[in-house]
């Protein structure tokens, strides 16, 4: 099945594990160190630094931007390293995640409990994703360099659904 997802979104129950999903709209970029900081900031202040509800986080750290383009090479990084932070962020409303590779049992449970979604982008395909990115701006933690939190506008980002809102996991 091929389907589309426009972000932010309030409904992704039509997406099933194994579906090819073309993502368009707004994406928030965060990886390792940004996750660590997001979690401690939310615990400290009690509020999320950007709107979580209906939005997605993309695990990525781009290479530098070539003149005339919106972003540099920008494919997904391994999701597994974010597993220790994701259940907390999901409980705070950030339900859609895009990365690569499998997730822990705890993430699968959290996705199922809160009706979330985990999509896998194609690892190593940084130039492809750059060509589908319309704009990019730094939102948080600029001192993290390539690990800063970014806000992207993307068009037809190809992904595959690995965990759907029912907690069904794609198995080859």
């Amino acid at each position: 099945m091929e389907t589309k997802l426009f972000l932010p979104s309030q409904n992704w129950s039509h997406i099933h594990s194994g579906d090819i999903v073309y993502v368009s709209g707004k994406l928030y970029v965060a990886r390792d160190q940004a996750h660590k900081l997001l979690v401690s900031e939310i615990k400290e202040k009690g509020e999320t630094p950007f709107p979580f509800e209906g939005n997605a986080v993309y695990y990525m750290g781009p290479s530098p931007t070539k003149e005339g383009m919106a972003i540099g090479s920008s494919g997904p990084t391994t999701s597994r390293r974010m597993d220790e932070f994701s259940p907390f962020l999901i409980s705070k409303g950030l339900k859609i995640m895009i990365g690569k590779g499998p997730r822990s049992e705890k993430v699968v449970e959290a996705v199922k409990e809160y009706g979330g979604l985990y999509l896998q982008a194609f690892g190593g395909c940084g130039a492809l994703y750059a060509s589908r990115t319309l704009s990019s701006r730094t939102l948080l933690y600029p001192f993290l360099g390539p690990e800063a939190v970014l806000e992207l506008e993307v068009k037809d980002f190809p992904t595959i659904c690995i965990i759907d809102s029912r907690g069904e996991v794609f198995k080859p």
């Binding site: 290479s63 070539k66 090479s73 990084t77």
Partner: protein, 274 residues
Amino acid sequence: MKAEEVIIDAVIEASRKLPFDAVKALEKAYEEEEGNSKVVLKAILDNLSISKSLEIPLCQDTGMMWCWAEIGRNARVDIVKLEKLIETSLAKAFKKGLFRTSVVRDAMGERSNTGDNLPPVINYSLTSGSDITLHFLLKGFGSENCSSLTMLNPTAGREGVIEAVVDTMKRAGAKPCPPVFIGVGVGGTMDRAAVMSKEAFFKRGKETDLEREIKERINKLNIGPGGMGGKNSSLGVFVKEEPTHIAGLPVAVTVNCWAERKAEVVLLGGYDGD
């Protein structure tokens, strides 16, 4: 052409273009797969043409630079100048080629970015002849994190070695961007086996029976392109072997993603500053 320019061009080209054999293997895999696995391979092949036409790195993880300087025993060599040549050429290549600054210092503390993607990891060794060959791997860490080292019993034999490699890929699953290329170092000491597992990517000659058998066993794991299942979990295995101690059988495995980015530069006659 100056040595520096040759290195810069070779390293930038490696970030945008895969070796001929890797592209052939990916195209063959595309023909063999179906369903989501084929979709992943289509994206990979599209990505290769996009990075070439846009002139940007094919993957945002341009890696930590791993370099192996193989110095001919009859080569002219000024080792201090050679090190300087490698480091300044790489610094320029990273800037010009829009490489990501992926290197941090204070690894277990602040992890502050070094800002220039330096330092590289450099290994030096001696060989026959009068040239210096510089081998470069742009080593991404999604795959590097899946690499392994096993100190087998000396009696574990060939089967033990095969199992150590296959187990590494079982644990890795979809994490290292399969279908992967695998370097294996067998023998030496623990550290030497690890270095050999990277030197193995620059082997010449035909695939050995052992390499084919390891590849076939990994392909039975049904990890497949992007973890989508299928016949292609590994596209190539390279084994390098050296003598070891009577009490041991070290096996090191370097896992490399499908983007097997490498470059080689030969400095004819050596390098002593010109």
